[in-house]
């Protein structure tokens, strides 16, 4: 495995994904903010959650890029379109598993039982549509770009 390639392009891909998601928020396509949701696991304070979430998100990006790279190794090497396919699959999996987030997140409210004093974060719901009707589009596109970056720039050892 090309460790330097993993570290550099896993990092770069995560940065670009984060920027794309931020633009989606700025243009009111979605309220989905992965660092914020991750940070809320450790603190209810918005500002601290954003900061903690960034570190958690970057670590996640590196870990998940390992899966992409493992797939390239099993799939005769990387290519941009292979990265796009894996990114699409990753995003689709993420979207369909969104409804189980409340059972994993200590501060996320449950749609059935409602918010409590501790659990107040809005749950994403099916395909994360609670965060805006265009959320699935935003998540799929940003993950495809993440995969394309890894597929294009990661080189086999």
């Amino acid at each position: 495995m090309n460790y330097a390639g993993w570290l550099v392009w896993g990092f770069a891909g995560t940065i670009v994904l984060t920027i794309l998601m931020s633009f989606s928020q700025a243009f009111h396509m979605t309220r989905m903010n992965i660092p914020y949701i991750l940070g809320m696991i450790v603190t209810p304070d918005r500002d601290r959650a954003r900061l903690a979430g960034i570190f958690m998100h970057m670590a996640n990006g590196w870990i998940l890029s390992l899966l992409y790279i493992a797939a390239f190794h099993q799939w005769d090497g990387p290519a941009w379109w292979k990265g796009a396919v894996i990114g699409f699959t990753h995003a689709s999996f993420l979207l369909v598993t969104m409804p189980i987030f409340p059972s994993l997140h200590p501060r996320m409210a449950d749609e059935t039982y409602g918010p409590t004093v501790v659990r107040q974060l809005e749950p994403p719901g099916f395909l994360a549509l609670n965060y805006g009707i265009q959320t699935p589009v935003s998540i799929i596109l940003s993950h495809i770009v993440f995969g394309i970056i890894l597929g294009t720039f990661y080189k086999m050892p």
Binding site: Q25, A26, H28, R31, M32, N33, Y36, I37, M40, T43, P44, D45, R46, R48, R107, A109, E111, T112, Y113, G114, P115, T116, V117, Q120, L121, E122, P123, P124, N130, Y131, G132, I133
Partner: protein, 604 residues
């Protein structure tokens, strides 16, 4: 046409980012979210049919009165009739930093609590939001525990309540009854960028938020250093100013409203949801004088930050982040307050040349920093930039304090502020805080402006200073000449000028019109300038106190003042509440307090 309230009938709530007006019949008729100059969600005050409102009130005929919880901006509307009483409490949560760090609250939230105090009451709730100044139609969805939700261009609007509401045609409504001791709560939140925070369905949660908000405001109020007869008016004015401040930047907007008319049907309807540099001196002076150093520093810091992009040229107004206001446009689909069109958003006056704003910015910097041991480099550069600008432009005509459109003159008030600019810069220089490149040029200019005012702005025939070099009209802004130290309060010319102003521009010796140019009400702050002038030695202390007492009577029942007042109909006019008026109240009360102390000290 549906009923439209009088401006007098409104109280205000806010969270130092945005504000809402709530009428004394429980109707929230004005709310711009998430910040002061954002488009409205409720604008029934400007169009009862299309603007949108959120009403919570008992049905039938009730007597209503409003008050604030003591030393807070938590508004209570009390409805009463024989054998029954209902209390509606409206607020936007305000928490300490520590509490915020441990509580996950929505970024923007309004809480309304309705409680039956005695007897029984049928309550009606109509929630009819019309985002974008009434242009957007909403699709409200009932998502059970996640509340009634609607996606808007500005984010997710979510209403949670323990009352039963039904949804139809983009609005929610419901009737329910409360018996003594029973309560219903409503939480409205806007989530513009992040996933929403949902409130737990527990009475205790909202009561805790109410208590914490009350404590936050009371702690803030306790910092006020003014102690005197007019403490409640001064405190209410300070609370209004705090409410109109934009916490993230320190800016203070002139008013949370747009297009409340200065005179019905006269077209004098302007958007005041911006920050005027002109208010700078009065703001800094008022905040410093009553002990709010932090707020004064934040305001001056905003002033320095916001003017950076256009320096050395200044716009007369900026938005809360120091950007230029949006292009002025008319919202033709809105009927206007009581049919008074047009409704305008944005402000074209931003592009005018108004030389007085330079003097205001320099003077407010002087008010805050003249006692310091040194100034930082950026402030020195800014002061020099502004000084050079005024030095090169002071002879030009401008649009003046009243922002005349399409007419420029050499206004005496503008010349006065040019003099103030030179004088404060030279004072900084004298104290060793600032090095002026051409000190002599500033001294010459200061003398030259003084000569112009004394020789050309004084009318022998009228025995008064006049509004401009081109016109012998009188203007109430002339009362500010001693305030800036241009003349002593008790000098002969000022006394004569005051007599002329009183003769020509006052009504019942209490209400002062700004000049003869406009068909409008009396301009509130002008009466307060008169109080300041008289109390400081321009006239009798007793007269000053008497005007001030009569003036305070025409605020509404919660002590709020608009820009103007029509003494004949006894109605408030113009945008509401107005920071400029409330600043004037603080400064007038201070002038009275200071001079009363002086009088007492000089007694044998």
């Amino acid at each position: 046409m549906e009923f439209c309230h009088d401006i007098n009938d409104y109280g205000i709530i806010g969270d130092c980012r945005s504000a809402a007006l709530v009428s004394n019949n429980g109707s929230m008729d004005w709310l711009c979210w998430p910040k002061f100059d954002s488009p409205s969600f409720f604008a029934a005050i400007l169009d009862p049919e299309k603007g949108g409102r959120w009403k919570i009130a008992p049905t039938g005929s009730w007597q209503a009165r409003q008050k604030y919880r003591e030393k807070t901006n938590i508004l209570q509307t009390l409805f009463s009739k024989t054998g029954a009483a209902v209390r509606l409490t409206d607020f936007m949560p305000a928490l300490t930093l520590e509490q915020k760090n441990s509580t996950f609250l929505p970024a923007h939230q309004i809480i309304r609590l309705v409680e039956c105090l005695c007897g029984e009451a049928a309550i009606e709730c109509v929630f009819d939001p019309r985002p974008g100044y009434g242009t957007q139609t909403l699709t409200l969805q009932d998502k059970k525990f996640m509340g009634l939700r609607a996606e808007t261009r500005f984010g997710l609007l979510a209403l949670q309540t323990n009352a039963a509401l039904s949804v139809a045609n983009g609005k929610a409504s419901g009737n329910f009854s409360l018996k003594k001791g029973q309560k219903a709560w409503f939480s409205l939140s806007l989530s513009d960028e992040y996933p929403a925070s949902l409130s737990p369905y527990k009475d205790a949660w909202f009561e805790q938020l109410l208590r914490r908000t009350e404590t936050w405001w009371q702690d803030w109020s306790s910092k006020i250093s003014y102690r005197g007869e007019f403490e409640s008016a001064v405190l209410r004015s300070a609370l209004v100013l705090k409410l109109l401040s934009f916490a993230p930047s320190g800016a203070i907007v002139a008013s949370p409203t747009t297009s409340l008319p200065e005179w019905p049907g006269a077209g004098l309807n302007w958007d005041y949801r911006y920050c005027w540099l002109r208010d700078a001196s009065l703001t800094t002076h008022a905040l410093l004088s009553i002990g709010f150093l932090e707020e004064a520093e934040a305001f001056v810091s905003w002033l320095l930050h916001s003017t950076r992009l256009t320096r050395p040229s200044l716009k007369i107004l900026y938005d809360v982040y120091g950007r230029w206001p949006s292009e002025e446009t008319e919202l033709r689909h809105l009927s206007g307050y009581r049919g008074s069109k047009p409704v305008r958003i944005g402000n074209k006056a931003a592009g005018q040349l108004q030389l007085d704003v330079y003097g205001e910015v320099i003077n407010s910097t002087y008010e805050l920093l003249n006692g310091r041991e040194k100034l930082d480099t950026e402030i020195k550069e800014m002061l020099n930039d502004f000084g050079r600008f005024v030095l090169s432009r002071w002879k030009e005509p401008d649009s003046g304090i009243w922002e005349h459109r399409g007419r420029t003159r050499h206004y005496t008030h503008s010349l006065l502020l040019c003099w103030t600019a030179f004088d404060r810069l030279l004072s900084f220089e004298k104290k060793g805080l600032l090095r002026l490149e051409k000190k002599e040029a500033y001294e010459n200019a200061r003398n030259a402006v003084k000569d112009v005012i004394e020789n050309q702005a004084w009318s022998e025939s009228r025995q008064s200073y006049v509004a401009s070099l081109e016109n012998p009209d009188i203007d109430a802004s002339l009362l500010l000449m001693p305030w800036y130290g241009f003349l002593p309060y008790d000098c002969d010319r000022m006394k004569k000028t005051f007599s002329r102003i009183k003769r020509e521009l006052s009504f019942q010796e209490t209400y002062f019109y700004r000049n003869h140019d406009y068909e409008e009400g009396s301009f509130n702050v002008c009466a307060l300038w008169a109080v300041d002038f008289l109390a400081n030695g321009g006239g009798s202390y007793g007269d000053a106190e008497s005007i001030f007492r009569r003036f305070l009577l025409h605020g509404n029942e919660v002590g709020l003042f608009a820009e103007e007042f029509d003494p004949k109909s006894r109605r408030q006019l113009g945008n509401f509440p107005l920071a400029f008026t409330h600043l004037g109240i603080i400064n007038a009360a201070l002038a009275l307090a200071n001079n009363r102390n002086k009088q007492e000290r000089t007694k044998p």
